[in-house]
Every structure is written in C-alpha cells, then in structure tokens.
C-alpha cells in the first residue's frame, strides 16, 4: 500500500504505515506453526498532525482498540511501522520504549478496571512521576495536586482509593494519569463510552479544555458517532481491521462516500431529527476477523455490491482533498 501522505512532514506527529496485527488462533501445538489468525488490524495507514484530534469510529470488534495498543507498542505489530516524530518506535528496545512512553499515553474505556484498586490516587500518580523524573522529589505532591485540580478533582482526592469515586471521577483520574508525564499524544480508547450522557458531556468538555491548555494531540476512538464528531478534526471509519474512509469531519459527516459509512451514519438514532429519516438497514452481521471476505471486505453486507467488489480489494484512494476512501464504486 502506498503511503498516503508524504513522510517527514514537519507537522506530522505520528505516522502509521500499513500496520497489521494478527493474533494466532489459540493453538498450543508444540511444533506446528499457526496457520489461522484473527486479523484484528489488517493494514492501516494514516498520519496524525500536531495538535489535531483524529477520531476513529467503527463497530465492535473492528480492531479499534488493537490499533491503539499497537501504536503504543503494548502489542508488537505483526507488520508495519509506527513513526513518532520521525522515529520508528516499533524497533525500539525495552528501555527506549519506556522512555518514549512518556510522550504517548492512553486512556481506557473502563473506569473501574483501568485503575489499580489497591493504590491511592496519589501513590499511583507519584509513582509514574518518580519513574520519569518529571519533577524533583519534593515537588511531587504539589505537582500531583495541581494535576488533580486541572482535571476537576480536588487536592484531598490525593489520599483516596479508586473505589471511593464515581465513574466520571475515575475517568478524570485516568486522564490525570495520562497527563502526569506531559505527553504529546494521547490515545483515548472509548474514554467516555461507559459514562452517562450528562457525565460524558463533562468529560468531553474537560478533554477539549486540556487539549488547548497542554497543546495535546488526540487519537479519539469511539463507536459513538456524535461524540466523535463533537471532538475530532478528522475522522476515520474502520471496518474489519481496515480504515475504509478517512476525511475531515465536515466532509465525512455531510457527504460520506463509502456505502458502509453511509449506512452507519443513517443507523444512528438521532435526537434532533424530528422526522424519522430514511434508514439504510444492512443485512446480516459483521463477518468474523478470522474469515475476512475476499475482495472488498464489506461486499457481503453492501447494498450496492457489484462483481468487482467480490473479487478485487479496493485501494485506499484519495478522492478529494484530505478525503480517502476504499471503495470501487466511488
């Protein structure tokens, strides 16, 4: 696959080049190599510019989280490169990785599972700050407390345990943890999905505010299209391990090109449209990432599929400025 934008552009913070992540199917055979794989991420490329927010949407199991983890090198990519500020971090050794992780952080979906239940908030945050020597020892407490206030908690929360917080507050703690090391890029993996709408709004506002305050760059993963629209500058749509459409927000939401994107957008039950809109109801279920259909991976559910779709995998083409799509029919 061709690289979609020229490399080494100075304002590119992150460049992902056709990364793949295949999970071998559980097989404990001693000698034989695996032949079946879950192709969770199957060749994804994009760039993230400094200071922007890239939204990623897609249905459950399409590989969003795996992609996020692979970028962070929490899972080593099966193939492809991840360039952060021009350096390929997928080739880094443990030590350098630990260092680079100061710059890339992640916030997880589950506000319960992503915090260590047995550590106070303060201990958890100070630990990270110690490890990366962000501030001198005697300033840690002050630094952490300031951080807590920044994310909308108060100083006293330093001494509390995670279970003493509500869901929204916990997510703020996760945000504080991500911010603690002064990262450049934060990957938000469904960071607000578990929250109630009213709390979700609070957290979204906070994320936006912090972005300007700390000059952050986000990759914002979610299945909620309205949330992604609210927060992102550009949006990518994933289907079965691939990005099928990538465009800036406006173009994407006003004029989606890929049949899947169109169907997805039409499926969202919307509060605002008083008249019920015409829906595109897709047939059937998402195929398993174990058996990705030949040709265009969407053809099994595509209302417009033609012969070519069944045979040939479409390229990821640029069809307009900053608008890429992977479909034969566009």
């Amino acid at each position: 696959m061709k690289n979609i934008e020229k490399l080494q552009q100075p304002d590119n913070l992150l460049e992902v080049q056709s990364i793949k992540k295949y999970f071998p199917l559980e097989n404990n055979s001693l000698f034989k190599k695996n032949s079946r794989f879950v192709k969770a991420v199957d060749g994804v490329s994009f760039v993230v510019k400094k200071g922007e927010t890239l939204g990623i949407v897609g249905e459950s199991g399409c590989g969003k989280s795996t992609m996020g983890r692979t970028i962070l090198q929490l899972q080593t990519p099966t193939e492809g490169e991840v360039l952060f500020e021009g350096e390929d971090i997928s080739k880094f050794n443990r030590k350098r990785l630990r260092e680079i992780r100061k710059d890339i952080q992640i916030i997880f979906q589950d506000p319960f599972g992503s915090l260590n239940q047995r550590m106070t908030v303060g201990a958890m945050l100070s630990e990270i700050i110690h490890v990366h020597k962000i501030v001198p020892k005697n300033e840690v407490l002050k630094y952490v407390q300031k951080l807590l206030e920044d994310v909308g908690l108060n100083k006293e929360h330093y001494w509390r345990y995670p279970h003493e917080f509500s869901g929204g507050q916990r997510q703020r703690i996760s945000i504080a943890r991500a911010l603690a090391v002064k990262p450049k890029l934060i990957i938000c993996d469904e960071a607000v999905s578990a929250l109630d709408v009213s709390v979700q709004a609070q957290v979204l506002n906070l994320l936006k505010k912090l972005k300007y305050k700390y000059n952050l760059t986000y990759i914002f993963i979610s299945h909620d299209l309205s949330v992604v629209k609210h927060i992102s500058d550009r949006v990518g749509v994933m289907y079965l391990g691939k990005v099928v459409e990538l465009a800036n927000k406006k173009a994407m939401y006003q004029d989606p090109k890929h049949p899947y994107t169109q169907a997805l957008f039409s499926s969202i039950p919307d509060v605002t449209s008083v008249n019920k809109k015409e829906r595109i109801i897709l047939k059937g279920d998402v195929p398993s990432p174990l058996n990705i259909p030949k040709g265009c991976r969407f053809h099994t559910r595509c209302p417009a599929a033609e012969n070519i779709c069944r045979e040939k995998e479409p390229d990821f083409r640029k069809i307009a400025n900053e608008h890429y799509v992977s479909c034969h029919l566009v």
């Binding site: 952080q105 992640i106 992503s114 239940q117 090391v181």
Partner: protein
Amino acid sequence: MMSRFFQNKLAVFGGIFTFLLIFIALFAPFIVPYDPTAQNYSMILQGPSAEHWFGTDEIGRDVLSRVIYGAQVSLQAGLISVGIALAIGVPIGLISGYYRGFWDEFIIMRITDAMLSFPPLVLALALAAVLGAGLENAMIAIGIVLTPNFIRLIRSEVIAHREREYVEAGKASGLKDWRIISKHILPNTMAPIMVQATLAIASAIISEASLSYLGLGTQPPTASWGAMLSAGQGYLATAPWIALFPGLFIFLTVISINLFGDGIRDMLDPKLK
C-alpha cells in the same frame, strides 16, 4: 469492608477462636495447670476430673496441658508449612504467569502438573521419609506438597490480571516489569492468595496430624494434637478422653480457620460488594 466481615457471624466465631488459639499457644507456659511432660504413674488413664479437666493419658500426663501445648505445634505446623509454600509459590507463580513462554508452559507448569498428580499424602510421606522424622521436616514436606497449588493459583490470577487495563496502563506509563508485578499485580491477587492460604493452613494441620499418625511428625515428648490422637486412639474404648480432646481441638481449629477464610473471601469478593 470490615463490616461485611462482621456480619458473617460464623466468620467472626472462626476469627475469635483462631485468635484465642494463637493466644493460648503463645502463652501456653502461663496457662497450663501442669507440666505437659510430667508423668505420674499413679494417675494413668484417669477420666476428666476437677484436677485434670481433660483427664490424664496413658503415662499419667495431664491431657489439658498437653492440648494447650499442642496448639503451639499444630499452629506452627500450619503457619510454617504454608509460609514455605508461599515463599516458593508466590515468586514462581508471579514470574511464570507474567512472562509465560517456554519456561512457564513446558517446565514450571508441567512440574506442577506432575506434582499435583501425586496423591499429596503419599508425596508428603515420601518426602518426610527422605528428610527424616521430626516436626521441622514434616513442615518442609507439607510445604513442598502445598506449593504447586499456590503456583497454579497465583499464576492464573496473574494471567487474569496482566490483561487488565490497569496493568496495561502501568506498562503504558513506562513502569518496569518487576514494579508492575510487585506493586500492582501482587497486591491485587492478595485476596485469593489469602483465602487459599487460610484453607491450606487448615489442611496442613491435618496433614501434620496424619504424618504424626504414621510416626513421621512431631517427636515425643512434644505434645502435638496429631501425635496425641494417634497415641490415644488405642484407648478409645477405655479412655476416650485422650484422643477425644485433641481430636476436638483439631476439628475446632480447622473449622475456625476455614470459617475465618470464608469470611475473608466474602469480605474481599468484589462480586458480593
């Protein structure tokens, strides 16, 4: 969390009895009415009476005093053998579960499989026979026999936890592996380990008694409940108190520790929150 523990009356009973027992064991010399080894040949096989609440044994010793001293041995047997099992099992389980891979899959797990397919008492017996009779050796043998259970438990806990997001978050924050293992994973696996440990203490006490029954446990004249029981079982028809009281105490102790362990489990189980 504590309040949940205290709601469980049985657990509270278990806890109180366990602590009482520890107290008795610690202060045995100040509590006993008689020297537990003092023999009085004119007082053999006397039934319970005002002077000897639990009667006297076959060589005229005070059964109550021996039962009290026996608490020392039995608790030691329980605590130390479980301590040994923990000392070996926890690090191996942690490392094996965290790193997986060849050593875990093909060496450590297979050896624990092999050890687990031995009948535990047979293994303990063989080990004790190799090491020689005596309380210390019995404790080592029981400890070794208990170890694979702990390795398995801890390993499976670690495997469950290392996929959790808080561990990934720790990795993502650039923490070193050993720090994640010791500071994050270990404290979170404490609850099942604690529960397993209390249960193992109970079974270690019974195992010590069983080894003593086979002559491989405590050496005379030290009073251990198991040894008293095996010496006294011959007198079940004529002087039942010799075996009955230590038997009763083993029973009560094990039951208390089990209840206590159950209480801890309920207390720590997030599902029951």
